[in-house]
Symmetry: C2
Subunit: 542 residues, 2 copies
């Protein structure tokens, strides 16, 4: 991996002076175009051995480029707000918006490498991290980002020489600490771990650039030239969307699917509803105060056709909770700042702290529902969203988040009845828009999209719960019961499953595996046959 | 203050049932209008004695209103990200955007009252806090917000009765802890402190509403009705801007002002510049690594005409620093999310952590410069901005932030020369826009606005430094030297001046006073006569 960076690259002072002005001009030109067009976010990762010249490289970039459109993102010890969220949260919140360049001094590579060297991460754990990182970076590139990963390499001798040089100059001596000399001891281990990890993450979409670090001028020029040529190429490239994948395989043999299999005639009479509701709200209230919840957070996701009863269901949940413990996030069109980021960014920013709950009224599934059906995004975009969403939810679960997602299904007739009813009630009128009426015309296309969504994103970790919602009583009770059950399940799991997951992925991977087994049967939350309906209390068929 | 809330208000069950449906409908209607128009943010503060029913009141509001457009903002122990910023930062980041309702469970009132009761805050300190809060709330109201402050009051007997009632019910017994019973001991002190504090903050723009807490139905109805009538009134009100204040008093007796008094002919030859620059960058670099800086953050503000050299000056500062320690924030038109907030919000969000620096390329002074001159905001808006800005900077200084602000002054001829020069250089071309050329037509109006700005916002704590910028060498050296001096000054102050300021305002008030005395002469950073120019090195007059 590092051979090409151990051959003594050097650039003379004269050659450097000759090359820099043109390079600088091209970089500024690219930066200006970037900023004006505001289409491409740029991530530059500066990684490598200590003392290899990472800091100096970043300084030179600031010298050559316009510092007003650069941000350097440093990741030291996570803050307590970061520690209470999934490990990637701190990187998501730091992503540069379109038009800006973010220089990552430290990144999602630092922790896995450090942990592997210190033996906190198994080799398999490291590989799992690599796979996760590859999917994350692929997502960034698919979202239009340029991801440039530099690894600045030094031989052991060069590292020692550099430390000695820094220490001999009174201006830089402060930078060499006993900690640095120790690095020489772990040099071989770092080379071993990082060369393996780099190889695993050296993808076509986001390849590594290995840079020999010994010569200041060579190192700066190489990094600068790679940035310049990559940006120039990217900005010149026409934004032709990549060819769409083949359509999702479909064959409607018998007209039966997860939606048509639902028995929407199930009801729950008012009296039974009241009793059940009170009991379930008490149960939820107790769960919310359970001390074990301090190692978890809760994310509840609501999807469903217009007028399916999402708002009413949410109200039945919030009524059981202390308002200081939850937030309801109604998802509408993304804001300008959200549009300048990957499509999942606007959900990452609302993730709850430990012991807190976020309820999303409409969710990240918009991409494979409304955006797909209405053509708001390209076919490749919604096609890749399934696995991006699965990754997202997986990261949540890894961090101890309890994720519960509901699809509220109503019949077309029931929806019409509710629309008409709403038009009669003054304070409900604002809920019905032109769009709502229009969406009804695409009922079939939506049903199709929903079935695909359930098939591709109902995972063992985070199953979909389909809710028969023609009867509001029945739906609300099923939702509350499911939420309670899922929370109880998570709280009853051995605490080791979640506590170290936040920072130590290998043990969490273990825990995950264990919990997967335990959940084998429970995973089938999506009723496949009519006989499997879980919430039968008081239900009756017409 | 509390007399009207000790007279045994009560509402019968029948009356409650009769009133609630209409109230609920009106609240939902108001919420719908709020959300559709997205013009008014609503802040509802629920404060009062413990056990007075604050939590229950919030629950009822969630029951009556649409929880999807409510947020409850709870403020427990500040997180480490919050502790490293001014005390009000956590409230600014939690402000509801236009169209939404934020319920504050705990607010900027909680800390001062608690601290006064515990003796950490003197009576004068409390009054200073009240004045600060009044200005903050007035600003919110002027920015279009509705600020509703409820104080739920209980007599001592009623508080005891409530605790006993909660304890006797197994469903609520967990809520009464020894801590609560202790509250009965401090009841009189709380009444004394809060009645004084409420009186001091009972302003015409944001008056207190005292609510008797003993009867659940009365309390809920009173809070609900006040919210409903206030929202309905506010939404019906035409948005006629208030009558403008009289124009700022002006009399140009002798044509001399802080700008015309500047000697723009001062220059610094290249050789002297290089030596000075290297020396000052070394000094700045050492200051940035000074361990004492860990109790401070640094905010550097750059204002100046187009092509005055802000970018070049910023580059000379950043070249001396570790990129991980600073952020450069170029201020352009506010984003959608920023437009939904008070005008200072977009600067609050970029405030640095301790030991970090934020450099603003254009600043919060835009409101009294470009927005004033171009008519982007109303006259009253920019007129009130001076004191809002002074408050903002005062809060920064209180929290130990070193605030340094520069106005870069160039002559009209020099600007024209630079514009023409820029048009020749490919990578600088993007910097010149139509707007830049247009702004030149309003030169006089801008000079006028700058003089007003300096006069009204150059305070002892945060003086303006006017920089003669026709010669870039001279300007850059003056800027670097001033920054170093201001940082040294702050670091040399007794540490008690800053360390407790973050949380304990009275001691910081003391420190502030002390530092004001110490700074008496130094405050005159704005040169009033030609003889006062501080940066004379190498300068020469034509």
């Amino acid at each position: 991996m590092f051979e090409s960076a151990e051959i003594g690259h050097q650039v003379s002072k004269a050659r450097y002076k000759e090359l820099v002005p043109g390079l600088r001009e091209a970089l500024l030109e690219a930066q200006a175009t970037l900023f004006t067009e505001k289409k491409v976010p740029v991530l530059i990762l500066i990684s490598g051995a200590d003392g290899a010249g990472k800091r100096e490289t970043i300084s030179v970039l600031y010298e050559w480029m316009d510092p007003r459109y650069l941000s350097t993102l440093a990741f030291e010890a996570p803050t307590d707000e970061e520690r209470e969220r999934p490990a990637m949260w701190r990187y998501w919140r730091a992503l540069p918006p379109k038009g800006r360049i973010g220089i990552f001094s430290g990144s999602w590579y630092s922790d896995p490498i450090r942990m592997r060297i210190q033996g906190e991460l198994s080799e398999r754990g490291l590989d799992a991290r690599a796979a996760q990182i590859n999917r994350f970076e692929t997502m960034l590139v698919n979202e239009g980002a340029v991801v440039l990963k530099f690894w600045i390499h030094l031989t052991k001798e060069a590292q020692r020489a550099r430390f000695e040089m820094l220490q001999s100059d009174p201006n830089t001596a402060w930078r060499v600490t006993p900690w640095h000399w120790e690095r020489l001891q772990t040099y071989d281990k770092l080379q071993e771990v990082s060369s393996h990890f780099l190889r695993m993450t050296n993808t076509a979409t986001a390849p590594w650039v290995i840079v020999e670090g010994a010569d200041d001028r060579y190192r700066a020029l190489k990094v600068g030239q790679v940035i310049q040529s990559t940006l120039t190429e990217r900005l010149a490239r026409k934004d032709t969307p990549p060819a769409a994948n083949p359509p999702l395989p479909q064959a409607d043999v018998d007209g039966l699917n997860v939606l048509s299999a639902l028995d929407l005639t199930q009801t729950l009479p008012d009296k039974a509803y009241k009793a059940e509701l009170a009991q379930l709200q008490g149960r939820l209230s107790a769960l919310a105060r359970d001390p074990r919840l301090r190692a978890h957070s809760v994310v509840v996701a609501f999807e469903g056709a217009d007028a399916a009863g999402k708002g009413g269901a949410i109200r039945r949940i919030t009524a059981a909770l202390d308002a200081r413990q939850f937030q309801v996030v109604p998802v509408a069109a993304p804001t300008e700042e959200e549009r300048a980021q990957p499509h999942l960014w606007r959900f990452w920013r609302h993730l709850p702290r430990l012991n807190h709950m976020t309820i999303f009224d409409r969710t990240w599934y918009g991409r494979v529902l409304v955006e797909r059906v209405e053509g708001f995004c390209s076919t490749v975009d919604w096609q890749r969203a399934y696995s991006e969403i699965n990754d997202f939810e997986h990261e949540l679960v890894q961090a101890g988040t309890i994720v519960v997602k509901f699809w509220l299904q109503i019949s077309q007739e029931e929806q019409l009845r509710r629309f008409k009813e709403r038009e009669q009630i003054a304070f409900k009128r604002f809920k019905i828009t032109e769009e709502d009426w229009r969406n009804r015309d695409k009922w079939e296309a939506y049903q199709h999209a929903i079935c695909d969504m359930v098939e591709r994103t109902s995972t063992g970790e985070v199953p979909w719960t389909l809710v028969e919602s023609n009867d509001k009583n029945f739906a609300r009770v099923k939702i509350l019961r499911t939420l309670c059950e899922r929370m109880e399940e998570a709280l009853e799991k051995a605490p080791e499953a979640t506590e170290p997951a936040l920072q130590i992925p290998n043990s969490s991977a273990k825990a995950r595996k264990a919990s997967k087994v335990a959940k084998a049967e429970k995973a089938a939350k999506v009723p496949k046959t009519k006989s499997e309906k879980p919430a039968k209390v008081g239900s009756k068929k017409k």
